[in-house]
């Protein structure tokens, strides 16, 4: 039996290690209770001064016992030992302390703590200037608590979107009865609690409710709730954020109590809850007292000592001194007394405590020192003594002789701070209540109410009553029940309590700046003197003090330290706590695993991969793919070890000399119908569609209202009042929303409907001089001659037995047929075309070759040759802008602004390197004078650049200032490697300048 385990408490044993040493705990233990049972005092070192620290609390509030769980890929940094459930084989270690927590060299630095007041780093390390990065290197060495894994997470996580009528946060007495009242109305209820079991603080209580011992009462209530179909019980579930419109997030730990890594299924799950009504029943945190060296292991919260005794059967010491400002902590003396260990004394700051419970303690013969303060703890790695002294009534001065109390455990209680975190997340402003000496939740900003200790109601009967009516009220407001209570009354035995004293900084015989450190925020070593120093330096706002001292910045987010810190600040500023105010609580209530927030949307599910109907064919051919938006498009089709360049040369030549085939299915396609369709389309494009006849297609450019090119594509007239618009692959969704926007919000009088058909059609582009011959082999119901089916026409017909629509449009400058069939036939048509083209060595090509071929023709790619600052004129595409359109199409007016009509704008030109084998890098900058000094005067940049196998030299498109009037001039591209490539400005059309080949 471990030395601090009470004999009354038994259970199956579990083996675990801490810092490499083997220990045993009991089923139901947390790591903290097991460590305490084994008498482990020092569990970590503090962040700044590396002071030895022990377990201080028993739950979410724990500032000191931060541990690293396990090792390897599944290791978890920074868990609070008080929240880690023990399992067989658990391995944990301290996060700080080198070579060990018991002997930490950094501790030596702690001795120089006085050289490190708040903000010391702002005041030093500045000279000499160049040494800062070296200083920083060493400062950073001290950074961090635990260590992140260095491998990918072996576990998975998921999410549930939940909707409920009433969400109850916290399953203490208040939450449980709230859930019951709501449940019986038929409301959809979720009740979540961070702990492993429901019951909240009652789990550690010996009280009785309705004649039953607390734990039995909980068990039957939980069983009752579990029987409701409309109730979800979520233990081990932290409500970590309360967002707008009653949206709350819950982290459910599904397997963390079983093993380091999930034995099966998902490790953690986030519930994304939209609740009609919320009941917050999150309890309260006991507040530590700030006295000198209050951080020595063996100083704990009084309620924590009681919890370890009552719930875990662990007595974390032998000789207890209780230090309190209120009645409540007397219970700890009673609980301790029951273990048979010694209560040295109860030190009460109040001059005349007179409650029933005080008498009960006195009746046991325990010494009660009233009007006293515990002003300092002594000891190094464990409390050895408590220094107590009489203090004045207001608690500001030591007024008598100091007495040493021999002890190894100090349980302190400075009152209770309601857990108002979630209410604060909503923006509700906490209200200081001197009666409870704490902040209550502010007026609700959302559909929520608080009940129980989190509302400042500390008696059990009160908690139960409030919980019940909160549950009924929430249900009623969500539309269930009449608000009446099924269980209006509870009979509870409890001591009536006398008022507590507001004491935030325990006086010492020395002034705060000279006394041994009185810690406020343990994790970050923020002391009372640090806060006073911040004020002395002129930081008056509570937010400044937080940021200057780091108060509340830790992984406990100041659950214990904040109120004391603010009170000390208020005192230093000589103003009230209410005037001083609080800092803001924000999510996460307790830290939340990134992996859980990411959920299943990681790895291959990070973002949808969109495939065309031919995708598997491309894969089988060994295609390399390019990401275009969410689509996977074949980039090139390497044959046996071909490089990109080799493959592209081969693919391009095939198109120029015979025939190639491209999967163009990803292009956006929008079906447009209605009597005003032509008018509408004409308003959206720069050119006119009013006279486009059925059977015909036209290329158009779309501008945003600022006059800049936004998308382009072909639009075909399918029938009267019926059009099919093609968009770029990346632009599809945006263009559809754009059309809808204008039709719905600006011109609802125009009768036109839009429907996306991107996914419906599969498009195979057959292009090259032999294209017609290929099509002719699979299609015999369309007259394919150039006269009957000319360039920019489309026809319906049958291709390889499938009803198809063929467009004679070309992005290569060659004779082209774009064959469209419903996607179920996509692979069929593709394979049929490949088979038909076999005799012509039909060559599948990818996006890279497509880019080369169109660049040879000077066709632009929106987004590559344009960047949101280019007009059609800049692109040398004035021909696409209708000059005589009646309606001022979208973007037209902007083309007349002084900057858009300016000369010397960047304009699209071709660049031909003087040495044809030089290929300009895309993104190279263009200058007129290569010899100038840096900064150079940049005149434009290369937007597209390739080696053209069919031309035998490199080609490039670029935008150059005033480029259209600079044909023939030589410009330079200075490269990173020091070379400067010279190129001549030429027409952007390199191949077949007259455009004859697509018309054959």
């Amino acid at each position: 039996m471990s030395r601090n385990r009470l004999e009354s408490h038994t259970g199956a044993t579990l083996d675990f290690t801490f810092n490499g040493k083997a220990y045993q705990g009991i089923v139901g233990d947390t790591l903290a209770s097991a460590l305490l049972a084994n008498g482990v005092d020092v569990v970590g070192r503090s962040f700044k001064y590396a002071r030895p620290r022990g377990i201080f609390g028993h739950g979410a509030e724990e500032p000191n016992a931060i541990i690293q769980l396990g090792a390897g890929a599944a290791t978890i940094p920074n868990l609070k030992a008080t929240q880690v459930e023990l399992y067989q084989g658990l391995e944990a270690s301290s996060v700080n302390g080198w070579p060990s927590v018991d002997f930490d060299v950094m501790g030596i630095i702690g001795a120089f703590g006085r050289l490190m007041p708040p903000g010391f780093y702002y005041k030093t390390f500045m000279y000499p200037k160049k040494l800062w990065m070296t200083y920083e290197h060493f400062i950073r060495k001290a950074a961090g608590l635990g260590a992140t894994p260095v491998e990918a997470d072996p576990d998975s996580y998921d999410k549930l979107n939940q909707h409920c009528d009433v969400l109850v946060v916290g399953a203490g007495p208040a939450g449980l009865v709230a859930a019951r009242e709501a449940a019986r109305t038929g409301a959809r209820v979720i009740i979540a609690d961070e702990q492993s079991e429901f019951g909240g603080s009652l789990l550690a209580s010996k009280q009785t409710i309705d004649g039953r011992i607390a734990t039995d009462w909980i068990a039957s209530l939980v069983a009752e709730l579990a029987a409701y179909k409309n109730v979800q019980l979520l233990p081990r579930s932290t409500v970590f954020g309360y967002y707008d419109h009653n949206f709350l997030t819950i982290l459910e730990r599904r397997t963390d109590h079983l093993a380091l890594s999930a034995p099966s299924g998902t490790r953690q799950r986030i519930h994304r809850v939209r609740a009609a009504q919320v009941v917050l029943a999150t309890g309260a945190f006991e507040r530590p007292l700030v006295f000198a060296h209050n951080d020595i292991p063996g100083v704990m919260l009084a309620s924590s000592v009681s919890t370890y005794v009552n719930r875990y059967g662990v007595a974390p010491g032998n000789k207890l001194v209780v230090f309190t400002t209120n009645d409540n902590a007397y219970q700890t003396a009673l609980d301790w007394h029951q273990t048979g260990r010694q209560v040295v004394a109860v030190v009460d700051s109040r001059t005349n405590p007179s409650g029933e419970i005080v008498d009960a303690v006195k009746a046991l013969g325990i010494e009660v020192l009233v009007g006293h303060g515990l002003i300092e703890a002594r000891g190094k790695k464990r409390v050895k003594a408590a220094l107590v002294a009489p203090i004045n009534e207001s608690g500001t001065q030591v007024v008598g002789a100091v007495r040493y109390l021999d002890s190894d455990l100090i349980a302190c209680s400075g009152g209770w701070s309601p857990a108002i975190h979630l209410s604060s997340h909503t923006g509700a402003k906490p209200v200081w209540d001197p009666n409870i000496v704490g902040f209550r939740p502010g007026a609700s900003k959302q559909q929520e109410r608080s009940a129980g200790a989190c509302r400042g109601t500390f008696d059990l009967a009160g908690c139960l009553a409030e919980g019940a009516s909160a549950g009924a009220e929430a249900a009623k407001l969500s539309g269930r029940g009449d608000g009446g209570l099924q269980f209006p009354g509870f009979s509870v035995e409890e001591y009536s309590e006398q008022p507590q004293q507001a004491l935030f900084l325990v006086p010492h015989t020395q002034s705060t700046s000279r006394a041994p450190s009185q810690f406020v925020d343990f994790q970050l070593d923020v002391s009372a003197s640090g806060i006073e120093l911040a004020v002395r330096e002129g930081f008056e706002s509570v937010e400044h003090v937080k940021r200057y001292t780091a108060l509340g910045f830790g992984t406990d987010q100041g659950k214990l330290g904040n109120i004391n810190g603010m009170a000390i600040l208020a005192n230093a500023l000589d103003q009230s706590i209410a005037e001083t105010g609080t800092t803001i609580f924000r999510p996460s209530y307790t830290p939340t695993t990134f992996g859980a927030i990411a959920g299943r949307d990681v790895n291959h599910l990070f973002d949808p991969e969109r495939y065309t109907a031919m995708h598997r064919w491309h894969q089988q051919q060994g295609a390399e793919f390019e990401d275009v938006g969410q689509w996977k498009r074949p980039w090139y089709f390497p044959q046996s070890g071909e490089s990109l360049q080799k493959a592209v040369n081969r693919e391009g030549l095939a198109v120029r000399n015979s025939v190639g085939i491209l999967d163009a299915s990803t292009l956006g396609k929008i079906d447009i119908q209605g009597p005003d369709a032509a008018e509408f389309i004409t308003r959206m494009y720069t050119n006119s569609y009013l006279k486009l006849a059925p059977g015909k297609c036209r290329y158009g450019v779309m501008l945003k209202e600022d006059g800049m090119i936004f998308d382009d594509g072909v639009c075909a007239c399918l029938a009267d009042n019926h059009y099919l618009m093609f968009t770029t692959t990346g632009g599809a969704a945006g263009v559809l929303a754009w059309l809808e926007l204008w039709q719905q919000t600006e011109w609802p009088e125009l009768q036109v409907y839009f429907t996306s058909v991107t996914d419906h059609w599969t498009t195979a582009t057959v292009t090259g001089p032999n294209a017609r011959k290929v099509i002719a082999k699979v299609c015999n119901d369309i007259e394919l001659s150039n006269e009957a089916f000319g360039f920019m026409d489309w026809r319906d017909g049958t291709v390889a037995g499938v009803k198809a629509r063929i467009f004679r449009i070309s992005f290569t400058g060659e004779l082209s047929y774009e064959v469209n069939v419903p996607a179920h036939y996509g692979r069929h048509i593709w394979e049929a075309l490949i088979a038909a083209g076999e005799e012509f060595n039909i060559t599948p090509y990818g996006t890279e070759t497509m880019h080369v071929l169109r660049a040879e023709k000077g066709f632009i790619i929106v987004g590559q040759d344009t960047d949101g600052s280019m007009t059609p004129a800049d692109m040398n595409m004035d021909w696409v802008v209708g000059k005589n359109k009646a309606f001022s199409f979208i973007g037209k007016r902007s083309l007349q602004r002084s900057d858009t009509v300016r000369e010397n704008r960047k304009q699209l030109v071709g660049l031909k390197t003087l040495k044809g084998s030089d290929v300009l890098p895309e993104g190279a900058q263009v200058v007129f004078d290569a010899k100038q000094k840096i900064p150079m005067s940049m005149q434009g940049h290369v937007t597209s650049s390739y080696y053209s196998a069919s031309l035998g030299h490199s080609i490039a498109l670029a935008v150059v200032k005033g480029g259209h009037s600079r044909l023939g001039q030589v410009v330079y591209c200075p490269l990173a490697d020091g070379r400067s490539i010279a190129a001549e400005i030429v027409s952007s059309v390199f191949y077949d300048p007259k455009g004859e080949r697509q018309h054959v």
Binding site: L160, N161, G265, P608, E609, A613, T755, G801, H824, H828
Partner: protein
Amino acid sequence: MSNSIVQESVLYYFHGAFNKSAVPGSLFSDQTDCGLVIKEAPFSAHLNLRGDAADSEFCLAVAKVLNLTLPLVAGTYSRNGNTSIYWLGPSEWLIVEIGGDAAVIEATMRKALQGHISIVDVSGGQTSINMRGSAAATLLKKSSVYDFEAWDSAEPTAGRVVQTTFAKASAVVSNRPDGSYDLVIRRSFADYVAQWLLDAGAEFGCRVEQG
């Protein structure tokens, strides 16, 4: 040149991958007590219909052609045998006829309907899958932000439909009287959705049936 015309369903490759050697067995068990059974509908006609809901002639004409009433209440659908018509928006509906021929439907509709309407064959671009089993409702909670439970509290026989998010894609989800759900999903996202479903269903046992 092949003379057999092969049609590939949207989930063709997904079905193809549905062999036990290629993927973890637990996902594809033959066991009958799977929490989730997914089945793709056979080739069907899917048409997008637009028109003025306030035009009673239009509504009547649609009803007559399809032999079922055009749902005018947001979020509802009507079904008659193999044909369903789903409300997608105030002037937009989705017509699905299992095994139907879209060209035929489109032609008859065009003949029957007057005025400003639009009817578009989208059959190639989407598919309908049915999701049944005890975990189906949970699967929806995992995948979509919509409150499907709210449907249960409404009239039990009401056919409900919603177009909403489905993981990082979208779906048209409707309920069936047998408690299962139909999902209409887009072709290019289908592999993603299928992988998502398998992944999400793994914990309940998950079976895929061919339609």
